[in-house]
Symmetry: C2
Subunit: 443 residues, 2 copies
């Protein structure tokens, strides 16, 4: 008796050398939280499984991976529109975040996770505050998460200890679904001494680092002016790049940073909608990959990205890389899908466990309905996944072998309760006192 059989679906297969093809009419066999086999429909006997899901006419693919988010920021979405980066931080985001209470994070995290489960996201690298609350929400939601408690130099070193306690408390929790990471905010809000102390703690606890760096060209120029080093060089010198490191954005990475990055186990989290909305040049994704530096898809927070939709990040990455490079043959569909799956898994830190429907991998997968009229006639399923799909085409989401959404119905979270709890705080959360900020942006 095995646990779960997904029957007769078409399976997206992205090979390790980034070819993309479809296995038609296959079964996916799941035992515990692992994929046991992916095989042509026929030989698996449904009566040998505790649960059977009919995948006929649906496409199975790896659960999507969001490599950089501030999930609970969904509670503020729509509140900081059409503003510059400086205004966004100083007049909106950081005043708004002075309203944050632990409970807001608990419900905000659930709200964002519900949106992600509906959109096919099964893993998220989250970078925020009150992370014990986020961990409780992830435990309940059933997704995978890599949680980092965002800290600033101004918080003092005792906050590094507090983060360390969070890491010890939660590392490996929820059947291993929860992993943790040190999350110093950025080189512009943590001085070298503080960054070094974070690295020391991370090494002690055997976790990696999740940080913002070279988010845009202004930050890079400012760092060069102030100290003659790029933010990436600062990261190298302070040891930030010594272990597994996720760097958010990197739109200001310079050609001379590339060889440094290539020497380390670093991946970039790429959130193209944020860059467009904040009028930044996009990140050098093609150049990162030419240097062997992996790139993962991300949404960033919903105050800049508005949604938690990784399919949208996938599409915008492909479109912006073509447009920016002036060459329409760049970022072809198989490469875009490779980044969305195997390469995002690498950035997330689980390259051999998620991001592919290979036997032995963790059973994180989604079923996508490509029968909607916006896909018809379906000449190319892989083209549809990049250029036609809507998050609402995801019908079933499975993580760690457990069904989190089936046929559009969430099974682990109570959406009505979550929305009602978040709405109750809306007025309070939307208030801004410009002199009441958690930080000042002046990189």
């Amino acid at each position: 008796m095995s646990d779960l059989l997904i029957r007769n679906c078409n399976v997206l297969n992205i090979t390790i050398d980034a070819r993309a093809f479809i296995l038609y009419e296959h079964d996916i066999l799941i035992g515990g939280n692992r994929i046991e086999a992916v095989q042509p429909t026929g030989s698996a006997d449904p009566s040998h499984f505790k649960q059977v899901i009919d995948g006929t006419g649906l496409l199975a693919m790896p659960g999507l991976i969001n490599t950089h988010a501030h999930v609970p920021m969904v509670i503020f979405r729509g509140l900081a529109e059409d503003v510059t980066i400086e205004q966004w931080f100083n007049d909106y985001m950081w005043p708004l975040e002075s309203n944050l209470q632990a409970e807001d994070v608990y419900w905000g995290m659930q709200l964002g996770l519900a949106e992600m489960i509906r959109s096919g996201v099964t893993s998220v690298a989250d970078h925020y505050f009150f992370m014990d609350e986020s961990a409780k929400a992830v435990e309940k939601a059933g997704t995978r998460a890599l949680l980092g408690w965002a800290i600033f130099g101004s918080n003092g070193k005792e906050m590094i200890e507090r983060t360390g306690k969070f890491i010890s408390d939660w590392q490996g929790a929820a059947n291993g679904r929860i992993r943790t990471i040190m999350a110093p905010h950025s080189p512009y809000l943590c001085d070298d001494d503080y960054l070094r102390a974070c690295v020391k703690k991370a090494k002690q606890l055997h976790v990696g680092i999740h940080i913002h760096a070279s988010e845009n060209m202004d930050q890079t120029q400012s760092s060069l002016q102030k100290r003659g080093l790029t933010p990436i060089q600062v990261c190298e010198q302070t040891g930030i790049l010594d272990g597994h490191t996720i760097i958010a954005h990197g739109c200001g990475v310079l050609p001379e940073d590339m060889p440094i990055l290539a020497k380390h186990e670093v991946g970039f989290a790429h959130a193209p909608k944020t860059y467009m909305k904040l009028a930044m040049k996009t990140a050098p994704v093609l150049q990162f990959r030419q240097h062997g530096i992996p790139v993962g898809l991300a949404t960033d927070g919903a105050v800049s990205n508005n949604t938690m939709d990784i399919f949208e990040s996938l599409r915008l990455m492909a479109l912006t890389q073509k447009q920016e490079s002036g060459l329409a043959t760049n970022m072809p569909i198989p490469e875009a899908l490779y980044i969305a799956t195997r390469e995002s898994a690498k950035v997330y830190g689980l390259p051999d466990e998620i991001g592919a429907l290979d036997p032995g991998n963790l059973a994180d997968l989604i079923l996508v309905n490509l029968n909607g009229i916006h896909h018809q006639p379906l000449h190319s399923m892989t083209a549809s996944l990049v250029y036609n799909v809507r998050a609402s085409d995801v019908v079933t989401t499975i993580c760690d072998g457990k069904v989190l959404m089936q046929d559009g119905k969430l099974l682990t979270l109570d959406e009505a309760e979550i929305v009602s709890q978040v709405k109750a705080g809306m007025q309070r959360l939307a208030q801004r006192q410009p002199d009441k900020r958690i930080q000042v942006y002046n990189p």
Copy 2:
């Protein structure tokens, strides 16, 4: 007894000076094919209406307008991916279109119209072949359409006469929902003499012109080299700009073209996803508007745009204009929504009839459900319309006072039949013989 009451919805109000706000809990009263009143819920008696739709908790807004499409190209979508513009035309699109038969256009048009009705589009300016078939499909679907039969200089002047017959046959048909327009392909595929003959015929028949011009900077440079004139100057000299004119794309419009355009009744159809996908610089939308030249949203054909989703065009216009200009305060939400509604109506040629829910206007409107978890908490409905909404959030579509989709169910078209008819031709349609092209792209 009046015809239709939309009860207790929130109404998007875009003023003529481009402010955006919401009228909460209003009724929309419709008599025949016109809006009679928009008023606070309460005084209208539902029993005085033949049909009542409950809009509680939904947002009503003008039906979306697609100012440039090749709708039946949906039958080819997914067949020309990751290729340059030249390959796209010469190796894919024009060989593929040599497979076209009249019946393909009839079913392809219905497929695209079904997708548009589902996405909230009620009017489309279509530019394609076998247009009698398209007109029949529009008649059946219940949408509004401005139909132009695409012609090339190589078709000979008899094709201008054929187009003239189409115009005479269909102008004002289907209760006025169908309007027609002359549609010479472009200055690079119609010589001056041919363009002048098209203009003459258009004037004779009292219709406008729908044309591709200055689609990208290469075309502009090539035209300057070959004859010392920009494509816009060619349009002016041949009379193309004399009446109501829709120009598709204009990504290659130069600053010196702006004053010429500003003197005429010209609007640009803007399809940003196509420009990104084909790695073109986007169109100078901010500059057009600074010169008082109107811009309308468009999808172009689904072989470059992949979908017929005008909400996606809206979002990508806003994002690309911010990114291209390097200023995040550009293209603020009210301006983007103004372009999507009143300004698209102007480009389409019905500025006082559609694009706004004003009493006396044609009753073209949609109901959008912003209660999905990807909008919550709903701090800003207008932000959600630009940055969060999915085409699948459209639940009800009304055109010319008739309900075309209600609660997600299409009432005028048989989707199963349409998909089955289109799928039956898939193999034949997908065949490419590179030596069998309808045209050659070499501007």
